[in-house]
Amino acid sequence: MIDVRDLTKHYAAAAGLRSLLPGRGREVTRAVEGVSFAIGAGEVLGLVGESGSGKSTTGRLLVGLETPTSGSMRIDGTDSAAARARDKKAFHRQVQMIFQDPYGALNPQHTVEDLVGRPLLYQGVRDRAAIAKSVRAVLAEVGLTPAESYLGKHPHQLSGGQRQRVCIARAIILEPRFLVADEPVSMLDVSIKWDIVRLLKRLARQRGIAMLYITHDLATVGAVCDRLAIMYRGRIVETGPVEQVMAAPADPYTRTLIAAIPSADPDAVRVRPPVLVQGLG
């Protein structure tokens, strides 16, 4: 359903006043470098990788928040850039994203009710009662119950995890067909985390949503993802079914990654090479 080809994004170094100063050449950050993958309906692709490796950028490219330097993405065979240009509203009804940073992604002026209900409003739903009903329903789904005690709150009155759930609620209220989830549960405690993860997986299965699940948390990857892509410095270095990648990583970076997973078993002992502490004296 989702077909990504050679997606590339380079950021030019900011052309501020300072760029006029001598000795400041034009630098380019190669955030994403020729990324290709495909996700089927109802499938969850895990995107794992080093911080700064370009995962979020990839996600932002897919939902149309950034214009790719080159490359393309197709949804059901139609070019997404063209689809977005044609009808933004329709495009975004299908394509949603949960943002990595729940602190910045919520408009401080709005209440939870606004925040979650706005997407419907923007999609042209005029029936306020219907909106209110949907809002309550998705809040319950993401575990913000009782909904009444959250509806009137502003983001700054929420804890990190609560904000993250608001972000999720907002993304799923539109029932998209393609969802980019950028670290959706990083701030959630284990008990709610699994609820959410299950919810996402269920949505993918039941509604046939194609999902790109961006995370560092390899522990949840197994529970959510069908396939896994490992990203390193803007490129995808390895892809495959989760079990296969986890059990027999081919890429050296993947191996390091898996070795670094901490264990929740108090009795397990991990043997790791010592890390050099540099620079501090």
């Binding site: 933004k88 910045g104 409003l121 923007y122 502003h154």
Partner: protein, 287 residues
């Protein structure tokens, strides 16, 4: 819409500032409507004492609560009648200023590029117009009336609001929550007016209070320079009358009431703005 207005009042009706401001504004509004009806004297009629002598510069008394002017006019009546033009000019100009300024700022800041370039150069042009002289020119061109005065003042006042708002929008537009709104399929207008606009309300309110004060005072100074509509008695023109008669500090009863009235009116707007701050800036809310 009515619910929004109701919400506004409900929200502002908290704390000491909101009600104070609203009450003062209410009184001013009532004066603007009723002023001419309840004025005890004709504001431009000359008053004479029992002996038939002109009641020149009479200090406050039972007959004339706020005394009389150099030409024996009743200051209280002038104050009552003067509320309407002051409020009309001040209010309309503030409204126009904010409407134009905020919208241009929002649009320029949000869309950027050519639209921004064009709007900002337009703003530059208006910025380059000196305030008072330009108003004088417009008035000379179009004839003098409160309407043209409001239009002229709005023309030179929106520019600052526009620039300030645009600057704010420039940084707001980069906020992640705008990206978040964008991918819900929100139209540009929805993003501008529903996501960004609430965040610039505090600035808009400062502009309102400021434009109001300037408009009232400018209306008076234009009159003073001889370009105003002389048949209109307004709070501003009362002060200028006293000034032109060199009675600034010789007849306090004449100068102080209009001065205080303008001050109180402007402060009231500011009070409401201040109370409203809590509504639009949720972080300020306590308890």
């Amino acid at each position: 819409m009515p619910t929004i207005i109701l919400d506004f009042f409900r929200a502002v009706w908290r704390g000491p500032f909101g009600p104070t401001g609203l009450v003062i504004l209410g009184i001013c509004l009532a004066l603007a409507i009723l002023g001419p009806a309840i004025a005890p004297y004709d504001p431009v009629a000359r008053n004479y004492d029992a002996a038939g002598k002109l009641l020149r510069l009479a200090s406050p008394s039972w007959q004339h609560w706020l005394g009389t002017t150099l030409l024996g006019r009743d200051v209280l009546s002038q104050m009552l009648v003067g509320a309407r033009p002051a409020l009309l000019v001040g209010g309309l100009t503030a409204l126009g200023t904010v409407l134009i300024g905020v919208n241009i700022g929002l649009i320029a800041g949000y869309f950027g590029g050519r639209i921004d370039s064009f709007l900002m150069r337009l703003t530059d042009m208006f910025l380059g117009l000196p305030f008072l002289p330009f108003i004088i020119i417009v008035l000379s061109l179009t004839g003098r009336s409160l309407t043209t005065m409001v239009i002229a003042m709005t023309l030179v006042m929106w520019r600052s609001t526009a620039r300030v708002v645009r600057a704010q929008v420039l940084s707001l537009r980069e906020m992640p929550f705008i990206a978040a709104a964008r991918i819900t399929g929100a139209s540009d207008l929805a993003i501008i007016y529903r996501e960004i606009a609430p965040n610039i309300m505090p600035i808009a309110l400062v502009s309102v209070a400021f434009a109001l004060a300037w408009a009232i005072i400018t209306e008076a100074s234009i009159g003073f320079l001889g370009f105003g509509d002389p048949s209109v008695v307004s709070w501003g023109s009362i002060v200028y009358d006293a000034y032109a008669s060199q009675m600034m500090y010789r007849a306090p009863w004449w100068v102080i009431p209009p001065g205080i009235a303008i001050m109180v009116l402007v402060s009231a707007v500011y009070f409401v703005g201040r109370a409203y701050e809590q509504v639009i800036n949720p972080r300020l809310r306590t308890g």
